[in-house]
Symmetry: C2
Subunit: 379 residues, 2 copies
């Protein structure tokens, strides 16, 4: 058989679920994982244990792959360029991926493209933050390290010059952004292939709790069609202009006055797209695999009027398997997706999805299962 090998760098749950999606396609899947205990390394048969920051490791790994793609954005840009120079297909490529790695680069490029973003600029220290605040509506101001943040880490909401000191301690550039008075968060997800085909999923609402995605509702309830279309056009524009290959998640703010502003980009399968596993004709994972192989993309349309995804966070009880009995008996339609991770309080260890025609019911079922698995409710 001449089936290609897709190499994924990073052993997290995104790689685990990409492997799951690659199996039916007959695509051979190879993993570079930091440890044999990582989420994906537990279920993939062809695993290389190694450090994604080491070029020799990356080169040896890539040698056995027809294309290399990513579970995370932490591979150094210069290493990706070196792999490209070796003739390796790296998807997304470093010139695209840099926009998901460096928020300063991302903001500058989106400005050039005329994509609406929160007011922003790189700031040099606490006094400069005060100046930035004065250029707009004053404090509070959002500060972000340009690299390395995720799930609320590397992000601060500061109310004064004194509070602005912390982000500068790491010695990396800091981006200041207006604290957008948003009414909710949305995500527009696109998958794009090297030959330029793109599919766009329905725009979803992402409910955040404590800076971490808690629930995703597909499609976003009550979103006016022209606003949904605008969000999808923004995502398609970014994918095209940045030459993204694979899945692109565009996290958005929706404001009370109907504006759509880009918050963050991720160039890989993304939490806001997990609902597609059970709720769309083609999942984000299957479409990511198809895209990086330059295969025609699958239908992104929803299979049910409403699909809800709720993240399962670790709680005080380490044994989530015991909770299966109740959850499965209560809701025979429930879909559980666990990552094989040890339970630690607040850690994302899985998610559930539900779908149906009654949003209130669909949402309650997802919420109940996620809370029961976590152990915050017991009936």
């Amino acid at each position: 058989m001449t089936f290609p090998v897709v190499g994924m760098i990073g052993g997290g749950q995104l790689a685990r679920m990409t492997h799951e999606a690659a199996i039916p396609l007959g695509i051979r899947f190879k993993l570079l994982s930091a440890t044999p205990q990582d989420s994906a390394a537990q279920v993939v048969n062809d695993v290389v244990i190694g450090d994604h920051r080491d070029l020799d490791t990356l080169r040896a790994f890539a040698k056995g792959c027809d294309v290399v793609t990513f579970d995370h954005e932490h591979v150094p840009t210069e290493h990706l360029r070196a792999l490209q120079a070796d003739g390796i297909a790296v998807r997304p490529g470093p010139d695209a991926l840099i926009h998901a790695q460096d928020k300063g680069v991302m903001r500058a490029r989106l400005d050039e493209l005329g994509v609406p973003c929160p007011r922003h600029r790189i700031v040099t220290g606490p006094a400069d933050v005060t100046r930035f605040a004065g250029e707009g509506d004053g404090f509070p101001v959002v500060l972000k390290t340009v690299r390395g943040g995720y799930d609320g880490k590397g992000v601060w909401l500061v109310r004064s010059e004194e509070e602005a000191a912390e982000p500068f301690k790491a010695g990396v550039p800091v981006l200041a952004e207006e604290a957008v008075d948003f009414s909710r968060e949305l995500a527009a997800n696109v998958v794009r292939s090297p030959h330029g085909q793109a599919v766009v999923y329905p725009v979803v609402e992402s409910v955040q709790v404590g800076g971490v995605c808690d629930t995703v509702i597909a499609p976003a309830p009550g979103l006016p069609p022209e606003r949904a279309l605008r969000a999808q056009e923004i995502a398609l524009t970014i994918a095209r202009e940045l030459d993204v290959t694979g899945h692109l998640a565009v996290e958005l703010f929706e404001t009370a006055d109907g504006r759509i502003l880009v918050n963050e980009l991720a160039m890989r399968p993304h939490n806001s797209g997990h609902w597609t596993q059970d709720g769309a004709v083609t999942s984000q994972f299957a479409n990511h695999v198809r895209a990086v192989l330059d295969l025609p993309l699958g239908d992104p349309r929803p299979r049910a009027p409403w699909t809800v995804m709720a993240n399962v966070l670790g709680g005080d009880y380490p044994d989530m398997y015991a909770a299966y009995l109740h959850c499965m008996a209560r809701d025979p339609q429930l879909k559980i997706h666990m990552y094989g991770k040890d339970v630690r309080p607040g850690r994302k260890v899985g998610h559930v999805t539900t779908y149906g025609t009654d949003l209130a019911d669909v949402r309650e079922r997802a919420r109940h299962a996620a809370d029961y698995l976590r152990g915050t409710i017991t009936e």
Copy 2:
């Protein structure tokens, strides 16, 4: 984490797809495979290479499992009893599985239960076949070796005493059956758990070509509801009375005068249930895993009015991947499931599924994709 280990014996595509279904449940999956090249061994990380006919191999494998289940029916009954005596949970157990291993035992038990079967008895030689024919409507008669047959192997349609010689050459008992003048073949699939919960899937039509399943249509078109219910009751009765755990496929003949007769039993995920991967709320693979772990079962209902599964057989062209371009571009809703097997003419190497509201369209799309992948059509 306290997630259990499911051990599956046999490295074929059923194990491959069971692994795929076990990943989201966080269930640890362990495989006993004859070779590292077997379909499932290509994608499972925890693989033991060994012979399923060797008791020491089975014992060593079972030691690391919370439950042992099967990709095929070829493990000797006495070895399964030895594992049970060791305290291993074997599901289905040997007392159930014997009915899927030995057609003589199966027919005798179904007679006891009053389940309708073709007229049958064990025959001792060609002259006895002629007597059996004379007891009914004469030749032709179906002869089957009681053990070891599948996909038309081990089955003969004989028209005379001379033709009846061949089946006896292997020296194993031979079962004679009336050659049922059926109008079509159906399958009623059930999943049952040790504590006695059972779910039943919609009855499907199984279109056979040359003794091999070609297409499955879910639900069976034009099947009167009371006849579908009767088929489901037969399957539920067999599962209960034989104490089956896991997936049970009951292959059926439907006759022109509306009778439903049991043809074959399989106690594992089955080709007639592959449509459930994309067409049912819970796939046969996910429900098999849940059943052998005695977890509550998932909803077996269909997600679309019609789902069609078409097997992909090997043709003259070894490179099926090249055919993906056309198939995926032509039908973005197509679901491809390949098994990682080398292409050999006539060998089952994968299947496709399609679903929708217009049966003719759904069927044409599945047929086209299966034929294009095989190489029998080129546009």
